[in-house]
């Protein structure tokens, strides 16, 4: 089997003795967009264009009520054990549950770390949500976050300092419902991930 040294050694001889390009002092400028999008208005515009829905509430108590109302009748409810979601009634309490029951959930509720106005994305971390399935397996998904967590551009997330622990095991930017155009380029939603997605934004 090829070792790292052998593999990289071959590349070193292939790239030759060329001086390595100077990589210092050349900061990569931020990506600039044609239209500035920011805040709740910007996010709402982008997220709804992708097929998501948005609801604003004033506090966490109202958020819990909004989640309960939206998820009613959508099957067993799986909710992440997060202090901000403590008021949300649940059938499955993630991660204090048996992994085998996760596929039965009809609806998942997660705490998004942030949202991006420019692209209409919610930012979901496996650290905050103790794993990945809640925003992945159910057909319906609710993302809860605060208004001041909405950033302008993806770069505000990607260029952030992750601190000494580095990025989470999985950081995912989610832009609307799961979609596919694989049959005749015709758009179908929910082919694997959640097909119905709802953002609950806490403004207070």
């Amino acid at each position: 089997m090829t070792t790292r040294e052998q593999f990289l050694g071959r590349l070193r001889s292939a790239t030759g003795e060329r001086a390595p390009a100077d990589t210092t002092g050349e900061p990569v400028p931020p990506v600039r967009y044609a239209v500035d999008r920011s805040g709740l208005t910007g996010f709402t515009e982008s997220w709804t264009a992708l097929g998501g829905t948005v609801e604003t509430v004033t506090d966490l108590e109202a958020a819990a009520a909004a989640v309960e109302a939206w998820t009613a009748g959508k099957g067993p409810l799986m909710v992440v054990n997060h202090p901000d979601l403590a008021g949300v009634p649940r059938d499955i309490d993630w991660p204090d549950c048996d992994l085998d029951v996760a596929p039965d959930a009809g609806c998942g509720v997660v705490r998004a770390d942030a949202a991006v106005a420019q692209t209409g994305s919610v930012v979901v971390s496996s650290t905050t949500n103790h794993g990945r399935s809640v925003s992945l397996l159910p057909l319906n998904c609710v993302f809860v976050f605060r208004r001041d967590e909405i950033v302008d551009d993806p770069g505000d997330i990607l260029r952030a300092d992750f601190g000494p622990d580095g990025p989470p095991s999985q950081l995912v930017l989610i832009g609307g419902p799961s979609r596919s155009g694989d049959i005749e380029m015709s758009l179908t939603t929910g082919v694997h991930g959640p097909g119905v997605v709802h953002a609950v934004v806490v403004t207070g």
């Binding site: 052998q6 390009a21 044609a34 992945l136 990607l158 995912v172 380029m185 082919v191």
Partner: protein, 466 residues
């Protein structure tokens, strides 16, 4: 998984020209490819309009990618160290056989029966499915398009729209045979069947396999973009995740990643970002209920290093967006299968001779281009694809020019180097023009004549005009 529809084995013609000819007579294929590539091109144009100045971003992307190539060993080294510190395992594969061996080894050790796969061109490159199946493992493709072509027993025909050549009625047949009851031709119904059918595979799978769109050295991260969520499922649900990464699919920093991501989905599908931008840094951590216990990344050379340090090195900057396929007048007429290579279109016509010089496509595909330059025009990282195609042709022509051909060209250059010689040749051409219409209409001369008009010549040559 074996194909569910028993179709007689179709022999693939050896030469591009014959495969192209077959494609040109397939009206459904041509209409489907035109429709899809038109939509993708329009989407790209609109999406790039979302950037303040996409040309500036493309220049930056080219600079980022070229800088990576110039320091690739150091960057890979740093990435691997960081990923290993996060609990990931990095494997180094010189060629396809070694990559397959590494993956088979993991599958054996884990006693894996079922593997689920997200879209990965690198896995196509190493013919992973057939190797796994030969050892008794079951492999299920989970991207909707890939699932369809797996059922059909075919290979992808486009980098990002693998089943571009199938319509809902083809899918109806395939899914009905797979399900044992009628499915389709309603597209929503077909997609619903795929969701249910594949969901049980995800939950039962022992290993999930994915590609890598772009790794990030500074944190040991691998990035995977996709729209369906099957990539996220493959990398989250099974207890083991194996990612196969072409050795050049990496950037140094998250700033660099920001630039690449701002172009990738825009150029590929006309989206600002794909629905899922998965950024994975190691296996599951304490406190997480799910996620893979083991994360393996297989870094694949498979001929790439032969291009490093050559005039073709820049081809390794490719981010596999597929835009060059969509604008290519050849691809748009014949589709991906005519190339009979893992990579079709302009990127395939350059990459195939470099990765696989001994294959028939290695000689023929650089010819499968009109050299119009549309590919280089749209490439988000500005790879001079048309220049490279021309250089490859030049290289091949030099390598195999027959003695007669060389003599002919020397005589021609000698003749045209003198004024009387030039006048003689144009006079001869003027006289013999009528002869062309009398060439036989059959045989190779006929084939040559069929698509050619002999241009009219002026009565006097340019040099004798006052």
């Amino acid at each position: 998984m074996t194909p569910t529809v028993d179709s007689p084995p179709v022999s693939v013609p050896v030469h591009f020209i014959d495969r192209a000819d077959r494609a040109l007579h397939d009206e459904q294929l041509r209409a489907a490819v035109r429709h899809a590539t038109d939509l993708l091109m329009k989407g790209r144009q609109v999406a790039l309009g979302g950037l303040e100045d996409s040309d500036v971003v493309r220049d930056e992307a080219r600079r980022i990618r070229s800088r990576v190539l110039s320091r690739l060993p150091d960057i890979l080294d740093r990435w691997a160290t960081n990923l290993e510190a996060r609990g990931g395992h990095v494997h180094w594969a010189t060629d396809a056989d070694e990559a397959v061996e590494i993956i088979l080894d993991i599958a054996r050790r884990r006693g894996a029966r079922l593997l689920v796969k997200g879209k990965s061109m690198a896995s196509e490159e190493i013919h992973l499915n057939s190797a796994l199946e030969a050892r008794g493992h079951e492999v299920v493709e989970t991207d909707l398009g890939e699932f369809i072509i797996q059922l059909a027993g075919e290979t992808p025909s486009h980098l990002i729209a693998p089943a571009i050549h199938k319509d809902r009625y083809d899918v109806e047949k395939l899914f009905t045979a797979d399900a044992g009851h009628h499915v389709g031709p309603d597209i929503t119904e077909e997609a619903g069947y795929a969701r249910r059918r594949l969901r049980s595979s995800f939950l039962e799978a022992d290993i999930g396999i994915s590609g890598v769109n772009c790794a990030v050295a500074e944190t040991g991260t691998i990035g995977l973009v996709e729209n369906e969520g099957n990539g996220r499922l493959c990398t989250s649900v099974p207890p083991v995740h194996i990612a196969i990464m072409g050795m050049e699919r990496i950037v140094e920093t998250w700033e660099d990643l920001d630039v690449i991501l701002s172009l990738l989905a825009r150029s590929a599908t006309g989206q600002p970002l794909s629905v899922y931008t998965n950024l994975i840094t190691g296996p599951k951590r304490p406190g997480e209920l799910d996620g893979p216990e083991e994360l393996h990344v297989v870094v694949l050379d498979n001929g790439r290093s032969a291009a490093l340090g050559t005039e073709y090195a820049e081809i390794l900057n490719c981010i596999r967006c597929g835009a060059c396929l969509n604008v290519c007048p050849v691809y748009r007429q014949v589709g991906g299968h005519a190339y009979d290579s893992v990579y079709g279109g302009p990127i395939g016509a350059v990459l195939t001779p470099l990765l696989n010089p001994a294959s028939p496509g290695g000689r023929e595909l650089p010819e499968a281009s009109s050299l119009c330059g549309a590919c280089a025009e749209v490439c988000p990282v500005r790879i001079p694809l048309d220049d490279m195609l021309l250089r490859l042709r030049h290289r091949d022509a030099r390598a195999d020019s027959s003695r007669m051909r060389r003599l002919g060209f020397s005589a021609w250059s000698w003749l045209w180097a003198t004024r009387p010689g030039y006048a003689l040749s144009t006079a001869a051409a003027r006289r013999s023009r009528g002869l062309a219409s009398r060439l036989p209409s059959r045989g190779w001369l006929g084939a040559w004549r069929e698509f050619r008009e002999i241009p009219p010549m002026g009565r006097r040559d340019r040099r004798s005009r006052p």
